[in-house]
Symmetry: C2
Subunit: 317 residues, 2 copies
């Protein structure tokens, strides 16, 4: 079974771990969000790709969901001693090595997709991890700070500001000019099933879909497309997805997110049992919908979610 997953960071990575557990023999291609990539200290950092790679490769810091386990922060402390920041982005020593290798390879002329493959040679994530694009796309967020309108990098909004102010607009800068990375469109076309994990529908899956050609390929793919709601009981399970949903005029409800993706993309949608009353509204839009437990409390619970998504995909064929 060939499965394509459009994934953001923590939520996507944890879902993938459950999916691998549910269907260990499946051929899984992950199309990873690179809109939250950021250049820090002259190094190219790809938080979502790394979170997927570290999580599936056994190197993730389980408690925080991102970054490396058994991490130290000597380099960051030394950079701060030089007065060089930002200090709000927690790059550890082990993590630095990943960004150093990536930056060196990119400077040598390798595209991000080739770099990601090389990094995965070490981590053996058990999936094929593709960046959505080899071109630079950077999600910016318009905010008002101290009465002044400013545009900040998504990471600054998410990590430094902790989404504490409203996102007035979310713009994937560069997306319009970006091309899907090699293999992305081919994987979508050849998939037996396409999954949207409970990743952020705006700044994760939405950014991937903003790369010209990807949304169209997903919509045109013969495979059923099934998503899992990142909203449970009217609130994001994790993160601050409601903030960026508001920026695109979408309510933070399981049904509203499904309708935001739309019936042209989605064949099926899973909502949490707490949102069972959303099923009728989603199905009215022509999207098959079921209510199942959607809390990724452990790998087994997550595997059950993945199985439910695959079941729904099978039913929708």
């Amino acid at each position: 079974m060939r499965i394509v997953v459009l994934a953001g960071g923590i939520g996507g990575a944890r879902f993938l771990r459950g999916l691998k557990s549910a269907v260990p023999d499946a051929d899984i291609t992950v199309i990873g969000n690179t809109g939250d990539d950021i250049h820090l200290f002259g190094l190219k950092v790809c938080p979502d790709l790394d979170t997927v790679m570290y999580t599936l490769g056994g190197g993730i810091n389980e408690e925080q969901g991102w970054g490396r386990t058994d991490e130290s922060f000597t380099v960051k402390e030394e950079l701060a001693a030089y007065g060089v920041g930002p200090e709000w982005f927690g790059l550890g020593d082990r993590d630095f090595a990943t960004h150093i290798v990536r930056t060196q390879m990119i400077s040598a002329g390798y595209p991000l997709s080739a770099v990601t493959e090389a990094l995965c040679d070490r981590w053996q994530p058990g999936v094929r991890l593709l960046p959505m694009s080899d071109d630079r796309v950077e999600t910016h967020v318009a905010v008002t700070l101290d009465g002044e309108r400013r545009v900040v990098h998504f990471q600054e909004y998410w990590v430094r500001l902790r989404a504490s102010v409203d996102a007035e607009a979310v713009v994937p800068v560069g997306a319009e000019q970006a091309k899907p990375a090699p293999g992305v469109l081919e994987a979508i076309a050849a998939a037996d099933v396409i999954l949207f994990p409970p990743s952020n529908p705006v700044v994760s899956v939405g950014t991937i879909l903003a790369v010209p050609g990807i949304r169209e390929a997903v919509a045109a793919a013969p495979a059923p497309v099934v998503g899992l709601s990142p909203i449970v009981g009217g609130a994001p399970v994790r993160g601050m997805a409601d903030k960026v949903l508001a920026a695109v005029g979408v309510d933070a409800t399981a049904a509203a997110v499904a309708l935001h993706y739309g019936g042209d993309l989605l064949d099926g949608w899973l909502v949490d049992t707490a949102d069972a009353d959303a099923v009728a509204e989603v199905e009215a839009a022509g999207i098959a919908c079921r209510a199942v437990p959607l809390m990724m409390t452990d790998v087994e619970a997550t595997a059950a979610m993945a199985r439910a998504a695959l079941d729904l995909a099978g039913a929708g064929r």
Copy 2:
């Protein structure tokens, strides 16, 4: 008193510490060798500049003479886990931060001299540290390995090969096109005394002098020029200077090194008491020469060497 010192790495840095102790109120400008700079992991590493900066700024690993004290090697281990080397160059986590800041500033368009000044803002070495040039100069060494003639970077010769094979030629690649960094020629012209510490006469002081304009400025400077022999009793005090001296056809003796610099550059030369019989030969070349203890066993012994050099400079005026 304005003192200009042409310095390499460990020997130059330790001499400078003694000099500062001997004349704490002097205005000292250090012209540092950058010929052993190397790009590692996509980062610009300046071993000699950093050794001077760390030594005078209190951050040096005293035992080994280079690198940071209280150092860890997490980044390097992680790079090795990615299969990325070289493993023979010992970059620690604290040291990495220096190279990350430097590389980021250089990528942003700052010349090495401005970067060095910014790094010294933190370390406060108590001297003005100038790279010999903002242009890239890289010392290469011709060797025969397994019967094959090869050209290797100086660091590969010195650190990886431990100078275990003959240096057949030593070439400061790029030196001919390099310009002295801003302030270098001005400092030389304005100096009250110019000192050559017991640094390597070929790959440290020799490389600095190979930048067009610097040798000429030293020769033309009104200030007396006094050097200290890095050879004591027919062997380098530290390092493997004899190997690279052989490459330029100079014997590893205190007198031969003085004559290699030559009477057009040197006004005075200090040899170790073990080499007192070299005094007559050096003086015959028109270079004032004295024999004093030249082992930098501690700061006080080194300060005595510095005082002897300044005394000789005063006598030579």
